[in-house]
């Protein structure tokens, strides 16, 4: 699933759109508020869903080759996070829904567990 399709499915607001990620096909989802959990193992072509909004989310994504992050519950994302995402080439978006609903919709759309 493309970034645009994910955004549409979740009625997400795209906070930073890395053009080079437009052609990526996201097949899996990793969802957690604990970054150590994401660090356990993450498949290629995974999308991250999280309720955490500090810069370590972007660092974790970068280190695990995750190119798109969905922040749940409409939390306000700082300029620092957006800047870091831009610098590391990671697409970020924000949704109003809870983690449960966000994952539910992605699951329904056919995306599978990223580990």
């Amino acid at each position: 699933m493309r970034v645009k399709e994910v955004a549409e499915l979740l009625s997400a607001e795209i906070l930073y759109d890395e053009i080079s990620n437009d052609e990526r096909d996201f097949e899996h989802v990793v969802a957690a508020d604990l970054m150590s959990e994401i660090m356990l193992d993450t498949a290629e072509q995974s999308l991250m869903v999280t309720g955490l909004i500090n810069p370590q989310v972007i660092r974790t994504a970068e280190l695990m080759d995750v190119y798109a992050v969905v922040f749940v519950r409409g939390k306000e994302v700082s300029a620092e996070v957006t800047e870091l995402a831009k610098d590391r080439g990671i697409t970020i978006m924000s949704v109003c829904q809870t983690m449960y609903e966000t994952c539910g919709r992605l699951y329904e759309a056919g995306l599978t567990a990223g580990r």
């Binding site: 604990l34 150590s36 959990e37 500090n54 370590q56 660092r59 280190l63 080759d65």
Partner: protein, 143 residues
Amino acid sequence: MAEKSGMHMEYDINKEDFNSAGEASSKVKKTLNMLGVDNKVIKRVAIAMYEAEINAFIHGGGGMAVADIYTDKIVIEISDHGKGIENLELAMQEGYSTASEEIRMMGFGAGMGLPNIKKNVDELDIRTGPGEGTDLKMTFKLN
């Protein structure tokens, strides 16, 4: 494969700045990518180094990250002068953590760091003790 041998990198892990913890891991990952190291190895290095770097920040009060890249191996050493680990056997167990609620709110402190480091390295040498700081030497073999 890594063409250059004996490449040496050093980074500070600043105790004042949580937001830049992990930067050393990021830089090392980029370098390994540039050198054309196998992706699976890069991921293992990234995971172990990042968890160790975060530990040095949250438990060790900051420290140093040193990376040495040879033709046949990558050696990463993360050290701090913090309080050290009292019971290493316990600390290596999944789920054991002395992290505060505040750390947990920041996305860490689930007691998964050290076990995950162990899983991803080929060799792990830990020097630590109460009041002695902590020094993690992680070795990754290249083919």
